[in-house]
């Protein structure tokens, strides 16, 4: 049985000839050396009936043997504040924050720390599974002393916690107060201790919020004992504050009378769109967030009157830290490539091999930045790749109800399960049950590989690449990120843009670019299903990161909390594009209506298909049934289905040229289209459960053709491309590349 042991990632996803791309690789013990080559990817599906894996070596200086090594990944989110004169006056001490622990029973977790452990200097405030709030103070002699409150926290409740130490009296006071009100609450309380000797609370270590640290790596403290949950308005003061003073510091300014005592008071309501945390005390001891904790989340004082953090920032002064988030592995570079100037645009990979081990770190070579080198562009949905990257549901849940069969676990899934440090997909929960709303490509994305046995995203899109290669049609390859950055000017270089099988996640820039392209005479072939569905956001200062919120409805593996539907990166309303007034139907003529994962079905031609406007689509095709074959589920109409709907914005002149039928009961209509819940929700009973192939003309001679199904591209290879799905696709592509305008 193969045991996967090697994986890597690159710093860029799309590079032009002449540009550099760096590759980072980590090997588990047993892989001492590996061969690396740059290859152009041609085909990926290794199923017995599939086209198999094929690539073409690109001769580069990369080709060669490299030593295998294990690279460390530090994950989990926290904040770092460098040591500063702000903390020089510490002798006595006050620490406070509002906290919302989400996993208080898991293990001890650090709220705030500034500790030189070896010297026995500094302080740390903890949550403890049994003792609740715990204050740790350095003893000045290489040790620490602990003072516990003695009452465990209840998960997912807001508390005001404080700890004070008076250096003169030696008195230590701990307090944790439930901010909600429950009868029989036993989790609130206070405790006093005597330090019984002096404590040494000053040190020159950096201050961490939501973590403790013993050592540094890659220029920053490694966060350990990371707190899961929310922290709001943490304050450090150099005097033992009274309860009234502690309460007065729960605001967006430091009272004048306390400014001499407060070392730092961080207002997380500021700079929400960034990694910065802002100290509002006169000391301005600002800090930086590591590994993308969740911002734009409700604070302890959220009223529900405002739903956007921009409308009431003081009610969003919390940050949600989690112990399993990751932005950038920050591995050392193993090799790099300067893309040769004459490299044709295409889908490429750094192919790593060692015995039976392999990995394909996939990237795109786009055409030179100032021009196109073909009339057709294949648009690689890198946003959707990032959303699904490192999906853990298969091996963690093993859901059989989705596919209506036993889940088959691949070596790649077991490898991913061994590596929680590689982070999660946007379909997973964090360890504390909170949905994952950020993703990054600066880490190995184990399932975004051309040969991954789960035919989904890249591995499924290889069917389109294989088909285009076989058609001998020149094409450039561009990505979502290219389109997001360059806008419609990138697309306008092409007569036709072709999507991949499941372009589900779209930023505003991407949506605008694609829509403008269709409105300016461009031709768009939407080769999949459930596209243009979720809204995502990028951040210019955070390359490779992406955000989304799973809001009101939609097919969701988790749901955002109320009041947390606006994305921290941009302030935009997250969730379904439909909820922002932009339906997929208005862009491409059809939109997500149903999904199922057992048997795929087929399409039947409609009366519209005999309209003379659609004649070019069916040239040479006499069949009434289209696509009753395919490499995923046995049909072209499968997995996720899109249908046309005037009510949802399908253009009034659109032609529905084929409609699928006979879907199984494993196919269920999307919840956002369900009003009352009725018994007739499965494919056998619900007539809405079907896909529509749609064609319509757009202004200035443009046109859109939409296949309505993720399964469509899996049918292209059947009978070595001699089939009616392939023929239809080719007919449309030929006409879409023909400059003659559509009416």
């Amino acid at each position: 049985m193969l045991d996967k042991k090697i994986a890597g990632y690159s710093d860029e996803i799309s590079v032009a000839p002449g540009e550099r791309i760096r590759f980072m690789v980590s090997c588990e013990p047993g892989v001492d050396r590996y061969q690396a080559d740059i290859v152009r990817l041609i085909s990926g599906d290794r199923q017995p009936d599939g086209p198999g894996y094929r690539d073409e070596l690109l001769p580069t200086s990369v080709s060669g043997e490299y030593p295998g090594r294990t690279q460390e990944t530090y994950y989990g989110s926290y904040a770092v504040v460098p040591d500063s004169p702000a903390f020089a006056a510490l002798g006595s001490l006050s620490l406070q924050a509002a906290i919302f622990p989400t996993l208080p029973s898991l293990r001890r977790a650090c709220l705030i720390s500034k500790m030189d452990v070896d010297a026995g200097l500094g302080f740390a405030l903890w949550t403890d599974p049994a003792d609740g709030l715990v204050l740790q103070l350095g003893d000045g002699a290489g040790g620490q002393r602990e003072f516990a409150l003695g009452r465990p926290f209840v998960a997912r409740e807001w508390y005001l916690v404080s700890a004070t130490y008076d250096a003169d009296s030696g008195e230590i006071r701990l307090r944790q107060e439930l901010l909600d009100s429950y009868a029989r609450d036993t989790s609130s309380g206070a405790a006093s201790h005597s330090s019984d000797g002096s404590a040494a609370v000053g040190c020159d270590a950096p201050l961490l919020i939501a973590a403790a640290s013993r050592e540094e790596a890659r220029g920053k403290p490694i966060g350990e004992m990371i707190f899961n949950g929310r922290i709001e308005r943490p304050v450090v003061a150099s005097r033992a504050l009274e309860p009234g003073e502690i309460e007065a510091l729960r605001s967006d300014s430091v009272p004048l009378a306390l400014r001499s005592d407060v070392c730092a008071a961080w207002d997380f309501a500021q700079a929400i769109e960034t990694d910065d945390i802002v100290d509002i005390s006169p000391n301005r001891a600002h800090g930086t967030l590591i590994n993308l904790p969740i911002r734009a989340v409700r604070g302890s004082n959220w009223t529900g009157d405002e739903l956007s953090f921009r409308h009431a920032p003081d009610q969003y002064a919390a940050i949600h830290f989690v112990d399993d988030s990751l932005y950038d592995c920050e591995w050392d570079v193993d090799f790099e490539l300067e893309v040769p100037a004459d490299t044709p645009s295409g889908l490429y990979a750094a192919r790593l091999t060692s015995g039976d081990q392999e990995d394909h770190i996939t990237f795109i070579v786009r055409p030179p930045r100032d021009r196109a080198t073909a009339s057709l562009a294949l648009l690689i949905p890198t946003a959707s790749y990032m959303a699904y990257g490192n999906s853990r549901g298969g091996i963690e849940v093993g859901s059989e109800l989705l596919a209506n069969r036993l889940h088959v676990v691949s070596p790649e899934e077991r490898y991913l399960n061994r590596h929680p440090e590689y982070g999660n997909s946007m379909y997973d929960d964090h360890n504390d049950g909170t949905g994952v709303c950020y993703s990054s490509r600066l880490r190995p994305l184990i399932n975004i590989r051309p040969t991954h046995p789960w035919l989904w995203q890249l591995s499924a899109d290889m069917h389109i690449v294989e088909w285009l290669e076989a058609q001998d049609i020149p094409f450039d390859v561009i990505t979502d990120e290219d389109m997001h950055q360059d806008g419609v000017s990138l697309l306008e270089r092409y007569a036709c843009v072709m999507t991949c099988s499941h372009p589900e996640y779209y930023s505003t820039n991407m949506w605008d670019a694609l829509h403008a392209f269709t409105q300016r005479g461009g031709r768009l072939m939407y080769m999949g299903g459930n596209g243009f569905y979720w809204r995502v956001a990028y951040r210019d200062d955070k390359p490779g990161a992406m955000e989304m919120r799973r809001t009101e409805d939609g097919s969701r593996s988790w749901a955002s909390e109320p009041g947390e539907y606006y994305m921290a990166f941009t302030g935009e309303y997250g969730g379904l594009w439909w909820r922002a007034g932009r339906t997929p139907q208005s862009l491409v003529g059809n939109g997500f209506i149903a999904q199922g994962f057992d048997h795929s079905s087929y399409f039947r031609r409609t009366a519209d298909s005999h309209d003379p406007r659609a004649a070019f689509i069916f040239e040479g095709i006499d069949d009434e049934i289209i696509g009753d074959f395919g490499l995923i589920g046995g049909g072209a109409a499968g997995l996720e289905l899109d249908s046309a709907s005037r009510a949802y914005g399908t253009p009034p002149h659109a032609l529905t040229v084929a409609t699928s039928e006979q879907h199984t009961d494993a196919y269920i209509r999307v919840n956002e289209d369900i009003g009352h819940m009725l018994l007739s929700i499965g494919g056998q009973d619900d007539p809405q459960v079907h896909a529509d192939v749609v064609f319509f003309e757009t202004p200035r001679g443009g046109a859109v053709f939409s296949t309505g199904s993720i399964g469509w591209s899996s049918a292209l290879f059947h009978n070595h491309h001699d089939n009616n799905v392939s023929r239809m696709t080719r007919n449309v592509l030929d006409r879409f590349l023909d400059p003659a305008p559509f009416a």
Partner: protein, 104 residues
């Protein structure tokens, strides 16, 4: 709470239907049984682990916990996905109904 749909152990006709066509589509009555069987907690759920791609699979039970590996049931090896479905159906039938599935 797991599915509560009752499985009638006398309906061996439905079991025979499954054995004849384990990948479906199933009749509505059989699908109700299969749905109940496929529902439930993640911890301990049966999955198949690829031993030889597209040729051989071994039954396993997942931990339901991130970072905790599945447990291989090395004596349950299958050379077809259909046979694996049949074997698991049989085990679950007995587990849920308390009656072994005996089809002559």
């Amino acid at each position: 709470m797991p599915s509560q749909y009752p499985i009638d152990p006398s309906r061996t006709d439905l079991a025979r239907e499954f054995m004849a066509n384990p990948m479906g589509p199933h009749s509505a009555a059989l699908q109700r049984i299969v749905t109940r069987m496929r529902d439930g907690e993640a911890a301990g759920r049966y999955v198949l682990v690829t031993r030889v791609p597209h040729e051989e699979w071994v039954l396993a039970q997942i931990s339901g916990q991130r970072g905790v590996d599945l447990t291989l049931l090395e004596d349950q090896v299958f050379s077809s996905l259909e046979d694996a479905e049949r074997a698991v159906f049989k085990m679950r039938w007995e587990l849920i109904t308390g009656t072994p599935l005996l089809l002559d």
